[in-house]
Amino acid sequence: MAAVAARELRDGEVVFVGIGLPNLACNLARATHAPNLVLIYESGAVGAGPERLPVSIGDPALVTGSLMVCGMADVFQLFLQNGRIEVGFLGGAQVDRYGNINTTVIGPYERPAVRLPGSGGAAEIAVHAQRTLIVAKLSPRAFPARVDFVTSPGQRCGERSRRELGMPGAGPVKVITDKAILEADPATGEMVLAALYPGVTADEVQQGVGWPLSRRPRLAAVAAPTEAFARPPRAPARRHVRRCLLRAAS
């Protein structure tokens, strides 16, 4: 999944990197096809070039040799709310038909069966990133028709669209799973089957999803990971995006 997610990143993009698999995907992308990816961690590291695969988003390796370290007030106000983040990664215990994500509780909020960690920065990433990518393993429990609690808003919340709710970002455009890629339908906001992993059938995907899954007229095939993607990054290139339009001296 990390390899498939990594492919969704374009070179030079500004990516808000979450904990776990997104961290892995971003560092994979940077070590392979997207050396100029600008990694921004909610911890405050901007343009990080970690020499080891970071264990957490607050790893000291994200600081050493990064382009900038700033406080978290700046991360959320000046980068995220300012609209500077092009891609945000989200994962969660539950993802529903409209890409709403639950990382808060299974069961009722006041008496949860399982207490999950909560939002962290996920609620605001879902609101502000220009687009988000969801990464989660397929299973009926993980993909209910409706999440128990909306931590991070998807394409539709209640009966209202993102536009009606005033959310600046485009929201979840893809859900990358271990068997298929779902995409948000531009008209309905529903997550629909868009591509299958090699050897996976649409029925198998439906078995892991708690709503009747629509599908694109033509399903794409997800390419198998290449050699390069299979290895964790090591001493990655320390280049970074050059978006300066001008460097005139005088």
């Binding site: 904990i19 264990v55 600081v63 370290v69 978290m72 709310q81 909560g118």
Partner: protein, 295 residues
Amino acid sequence: MRDAVSRFVHDGDTVVIEGFTHLICFAAGHEIIRQRRRDLTLARLTPDLIYDQMIAAGCARKLVFSWAGNPGVGSLHAFRRAVEGKSRGGLEIEEYSHFGMVARFSAGAARLPFWPLRNYMGTDLPTANPRIRSVMCPYTGEALATVPALNPGVTIVHAQRADRGGNTQMWGLVGVQKEAAFASERVIVVVEELVDEQVIRSDPNRTVIPGVIVSGVVLEPWGAHPSYAQGYYDRDNDFYVAWESISRDPDKLARYLDEFVYDVPDRAGYMEKQPHLAVRLKAKERLSRGVNYGF
């Protein structure tokens, strides 16, 4: 540290031990446990292992937070048992997102009663927490979310260095410590090194917390372990992994607290029990160059 906690941390206080992954003052948390403080409202973005330990030790009445997990590993099980109703006493919670908590500290630091943010549309967080409200912009007429100021009784900040006057410098991840300190009635600074005032004055842009807001300074090398101090020691990721199994079992957790908290007098004692830590985690050298402050 004993004196600092005894003087500045009281039963019933709202206590903040801040630090995002970096510079989390476990030494202060352990001293609070040893001094058996009760009915605390513990606030921070990521409760982390230290608040899990303080919850297990019975210090906390309430938790104010935005992400309660073991970063990169899994759950905080003492926290989960309390919230899922599986341990005695229970635990009141007040929950935000990271941006919401950062905004609460920003409001507190600026002594404003609220902070506006463009957020929370579509989420169930305002339903779960009615303190997330909204305000109408007097220019555009649009509704913006608000969070209330957070003004703790005491904030404890770990840093690389400070002078005896409390002027504190830190580098690497600085999280929300400046805002939390300015929002707080009392501020305890705990440092890896106590330096001469001239060291601070030689690089004033590096100062994050000025002495004028600091109540006490404590010298406590390795005081952030198993968290880390950039340039001093690495994060003890092994301990974070080990916490999963320790915290899952209440008896094992109790034994951990006995051995590493109650039965050691202080942080020096904690480090003496584990001499390998200093060897394994000591930071390599990656010095920055100086800049010119002359005129």
